[in-house]
Symmetry: C2
Subunit: 211 residues, 2 copies
């Protein structure tokens, strides 16, 4: 098990309340690396909250090109839908523990679900700017800055996802992700410690690089 995949006891997760105010009471369920949480086209029954690990929301084109619409990290809520049909596939990234709740039991929390969905909108719209107008190095800089804010500890980000996942999130190839990361190291703004751990040595410069 990797350091970034802190497992928590399923029992301890039974009632997780993060600072978002949404008390998502449900059963904690463990997903293995790559396991599908739900698939595009499925009937939407549950909402989920990440207790540990991470998940990815994936959309595919017919020829296999893949876009990761969003990464869900500890504390994030996902699976809220207006319709009955899942609009994309969500899979565990590495091993993950999710708290599961029937969507129908959450209607009293409508206001808070609303906030989570709106946060997703804000994130998606920000990401549109990145995919539409930023260069490879700007995409990486944005990505690392964002991750640092969400799961960074003391300037170090433990990446839960593979290079392929990062590439598919940023609309690049693994080769470009790899090269760009090397280049950022050359500029002295980040420092890799193994391929799943990045230290942001100069976060201000990294933020500059986002333009």
């Amino acid at each position: 098990m990797h350091a970034h995949q802190r497992m928590i006891s399923p029992l301890a997760a039974r009632a997780i309340e993060a600072d978002d105010g949404l008390k998502l009471i449900g059963v904690a369920k463990t997903f293995a690396a790559g396991q599908e949480v739900f698939g595009e086209g499925d009937t939407a029954v549950y909402a989920f909250k990440v207790a540990s690990g991470a998940a990815r929301a994936v959309r595919l084109l017919a020829d296999g090109r893949r876009q990761i619409v969003e990464f869900y990290l500890p504390g994030d809520v996902f699976g809220i839908e207006l319709g009955q049909i899942r609009r994309m596939t969500v899979e565990a990234v590495g091993d993950a523990v999710l708290v599961v709740a029937r969507r129908t039991t959450l209607t009293k929390d409508a206001e808070r679900l609303w906030r989570h969905a709106f946060a997703a909108l804000v994130r998606a719209e920000n990401h549109l700017l990145t995919l539409g107008r930023r260069s490879a190095s700007e995409r990486l800089a944005s990505f690392l800055t964002d991750l640092a804010a969400r799961i960074g500890a003391d300037g170090v980000v433990e990446l839960p996802m593979s290079r392929q996942d990062i590439a598919d999130h940023l609309g690049l190839t693994i080769e470009t992700v790899s090269r760009t990361l090397t280049q950022l190291q050359g500029q002295g703004v980040v420092e890799a410690r193994g391929c799943r751990s990045v230290r942001l040595t100069h976060p201000a410069a990294l933020a500059e690089l986002c333009e």
Copy 2:
């Protein structure tokens, strides 16, 4: 005045109800081409519904690169915010008539506002796939197919926006938009009638081109 900018009497627009079920009662206001409806950073007071014309939601990078996050077409509602601050600028595309309502007076319609915001999320997440993984011709094909579904009449789409707007929405340059459109004509799937009107001569083939 262009054919696609059907003006309606402000009085007639006082209570616009489209098939979305949201009865947005307010004052109709006319905006000139390019006029700002609200700016990034402004305090969010009103919500808007497009009566005629179109609007664009714009985000800028420091060096002037521009991303059009979304086009709002007749019937679309925008300006719903969770916070008090506008997250992007919205401007009229060509002349436009908008119905304006105080956000605070809309709280009883929360359920319907919710639907509009969720629709924006679905659109944004779909567009992420386009910007992240589609080629120039696939982007144009997606764009035209989408527009045809929203404002197409009999296979003809009257474009409310300029080439620059299209480019900034699709993450391309005007030259690439222009060339790609010419190329689509060469393939016989579309037919331009002046630069603001496109006939989808072979919509099925166009849908194929989206991959």
